[in-house]
């Protein structure tokens, strides 16, 4: 069935609230307003204010309350409006959600799902355009996924709710209105597996979330030049699906990582490092990275477009790693 990413999320939320009385949704403006991105529109009317719970502007307290409610036997879904505001709750994530099971010697469980929007592209400037999911992916004790398709938006949520540990779902803000095919079933891919979105043989282009579409657009362009790029959608950022990544790179011998985070210290570095560690002698060129410029994302469209990864930049990076001169020279 075709539906938007937003509708896919709403379908998933509706199903989750219907299926399990322990599930409830909580966050700023998830109820009366219908969700800042309208993902939860209509749910308050359907499930009532106990299960679709508007919160005050208190990110630390309501994320912490989500952790506490999970400890208390519920299956909370906490919506943090965007990753930008989630910084206010990061202490609760890093110091409580991520530590409680291990630190208690295995006694405690935090089956919490946190959803939030991430990423730029909507001209909402420096304080509303961060892509910080890479930070979350650094933290042991939590899981991090990023649905890039409507199908994954539909099916990652129920899978996340089955996890006994905290799962953070990053929804790229540009994806909500995107339409896609949503299957009746979750499909064969487990929650934490990467997906090959387009097979290829010349280069592996690795992306997640809002960058997957850009990678696919770049691959289309490259195909017209005779370059067959394989596009890999990470889907899960913690854990990373090393096996799928390395298998692809070993076939293509070249890789480009696309990441909307600022380049220095972004998740792209981890992926590039793992590729080098795992497939160094099969690489014909250093792994290239296409990331955001290291700048607070500016408001005007031309500057924002320049600051964020774009298909053209991905194409250029692919051409760079394919430059036979450089690669051949070195292998000689």
């Amino acid at each position: 069935m075709r539906m938007t990413y937003r509708e896919a999320l709403r379908t998933a939320l509706t199903e989750a609230l219907s299926a399990d009385p322990r599930v409830f949704l909580m966050g700023e403006d998830v109820g009366r307003y219908g969700g800042a991105y309208a993902a939860s529109k209509g749910l308050l009317e359907q499930f009532g204010p106990d299960r679709v719970r508007d919160t005050p502007l208190s990110e630390s307290a309501f994320v912490g309350a989500g952790i506490g409610a999970a400890l208390g036997g519920m299956r909370p879904i906490v919506e943090v409006m965007t990753v930008n505001f989630s910084l206010l709750a990061l202490d609760q994530v890093v110091n409580s959600a991520a530590t409680l099971r291990h630190m208690s010697g295995g006694q405690l469980s935090v089956p919490l799902v946190v959803r939030m929007a991430t990423g730029g592209g909507r001209q909402v400037a420096a304080q509303h355009s961060h892509s910080l999911e890479g930070w979350y992916a650094h933290v042991p004790g939590i899981r991090v996924v990023a649905p890039a398709t409507a199908h994954d938006a539909r099916w990652m949520l129920p899978a996340a709710l089955r996890e006994p540990d905290p799962v953070f779902i990053f929804e790229h803000a540009m994806l909500y209105p995107e339409e896609g095919e949503v299957g009746e079933e979750p499909g064969p891919l487990p929650l934490f597996a990467a997906a090959i979105r387009r097979p290829g043989r010349d280069v592996t282009v690795i992306a997640h979330g809002g960058s997957v579409g850009k990678a696919l657009a770049a691959a289309e362009q490259l195909a017209t030049e005779g370059i067959e790029a394989e596009v890999l959608d990470l889907r899960s950022l913690r854990p990373l699906d090393d096996a799928t990544i390395l298998e692809s790179v070993r076939r293509c011998h070249r890789a480009v990582v696309v990441d909307e985070g600022w380049r220095s210290g972004s998740l792209s570095a981890e992926i590039a490092s793992r590729i080098s560690e795992g497939a160094f002698f099969e690489l014909d060129a250093p792994v290239a990275r296409v990331c955001s410029a290291e700048v607070p994302i500016p408001y005007p469209k031309h500057l924002e477009d320049t600051a964020l990864p774009q298909p053209d930049g991905i194409c250029a990076a692919v051409r760079g790693v394919l430059q036979p001169a450089q690669a051949a020279g070195a292998k000689a």
Partner: protein
């Protein structure tokens, strides 16, 4: 979730004093400018000239004008993402503000910030903050700097009712009071944080009662009454200026428009909005000025025409502006080029 009482309409105090014609003209002119400027901005948004988030303060003009009237040029202002009114009342050139909304290089922040991030360091207008309650600690710091240098000035810090729920409200009021810093905390209570009504985000809906927890004197005022608000701000500012420490002034007001241009306004009724519109701060002030014989209808109409003309000039200024060159994208991330790496 228990249902609590509906938000009370603010009471207009019996008398908010007299006003001379020059002041009346200035205040009404500013309120009209804000109104016309924002009406135009909404149009320009629909026309695609302005993008991203645009938060209008239509309905709340009295607070901007009254609050800033009580400040001197030496005072600092810390604002929010709903800050066109503050910026214009502070005297930022309307063209620079409009150009900022366009994202043009002749905008107040060189176009980089847009509607939510208007700065003017010369006018001590410290922005423009799109993190709710994010400005409060900055205001405390600005006041601390003034105390330490020392520099005789106060810092006025605007924030909404929604910001009151954030931990930073609490931490900042405590810090300012503990250190007796000259901060005037100005809460623009418009009864909604996005779609969440005051009584659905605050256990205690009377914000002016919250100063007590920090020994911060606090008062609520009818923010639809520019004269009442002005005298309340004046009194509060004087107290802060005297060295008595911070003050919390709650201005009860209402936004007539949606939260932002994305907002379908599912959370409130047309009737509620209409009811508040009967207390439109511009109409109220106008009626009082006309009724009291302070300004004639014709003079008021002239002010309105001027507001429209200034707005049009601002649009022309913005339209004529250049885009910042892409090559300058990385300029001013840091003050200087790196010696390495």
């Amino acid at each position: 979730m228990a249902t609590r009482e509906a938000p009370p309409l603010p009471k207009t105090p019996a008398a908010s004093g007299a006003i001379d014609a020059a002041t009346a003209r200035s205040w009404l002119g500013q309120m009209l400018l804000i109104r016309r400027f924002e009406e135009k901005a909404a149009e320009l948004y629909s026309a695609g000239k302005i993008r991203g988030f645009l938060h209008l303060s239509i309905g709340e003009e009295a607070v901007s004008v009254a609050a800033i009237a009580a400040l001197t040029e030496a005072d600092n202002i810390v604002s929010t993402y709903r800050e066109h009114g503050h910026a214009l009342a502070r005297g930022l050139p309307p063209g620079a503000v409009m150009a900022e909304l366009y994202g043009k290089a002749n905008g107040a922040s060189r176009g980089r910030g847009g509607s939510m991030h208007i700065f003017d360091v010369g006018r001590r207008f410290y922005g423009g903050n799109a993190i709710v309650a994010g400005g409060l600690p900055l205001a405390v710091g600005l006041a601390l700097a003034d105390r330490l240098r020392p520099r005789p000035a106060i810092t006025a810090c605007f924030f909404g009712d929604g910001a009151v729920a954030e931990g930073e409200f609490h931490e900042s009021l405590n810090l300012a009071s503990l250190w007796k810093l000259p901060v005037l905390f100005l809460c623009e209570n418009n009864y909604y944080a996005m779609g969440t009504a005051l009584d659905r985000h605050q256990a205690e809906t009377d914000i002016s009662l919250k100063g007590g927890a920090y020994r911060v004197p606090s008062v609520a005022v009818d923010g639809m009454d520019v004269m009442a608000t002005a005298s309340a701000v004046r009194a509060a500012a004087e107290q802060v200026r005297s060295g008595a420490g911070p003050f919390l002034l709650e201005c009860r007001t209402y936004r007539f428009r949606a939260h932002s241009m994305y907002d379908p306004e599912l959370y409130r009724s047309k009737e509620e909005v209409e009811q508040w519109k009967r207390r439109d701060p511009i109409a109220l002030f106008r009626a009082r000025l006309e009724g009291g014989g302070i300004l004639a209808a014709a003079a008021i109409e002239a002010l309105d025409r001027e507001a429209r003309a200034v707005t049009d000039q601002a649009v022309a200024f913005a339209e004529a502006g250049e885009w910042e060159p892409v090559a300058d994208l990385l300029k001013d991330v840091y003050a200087r080029e790196l010696p390495c790496g």
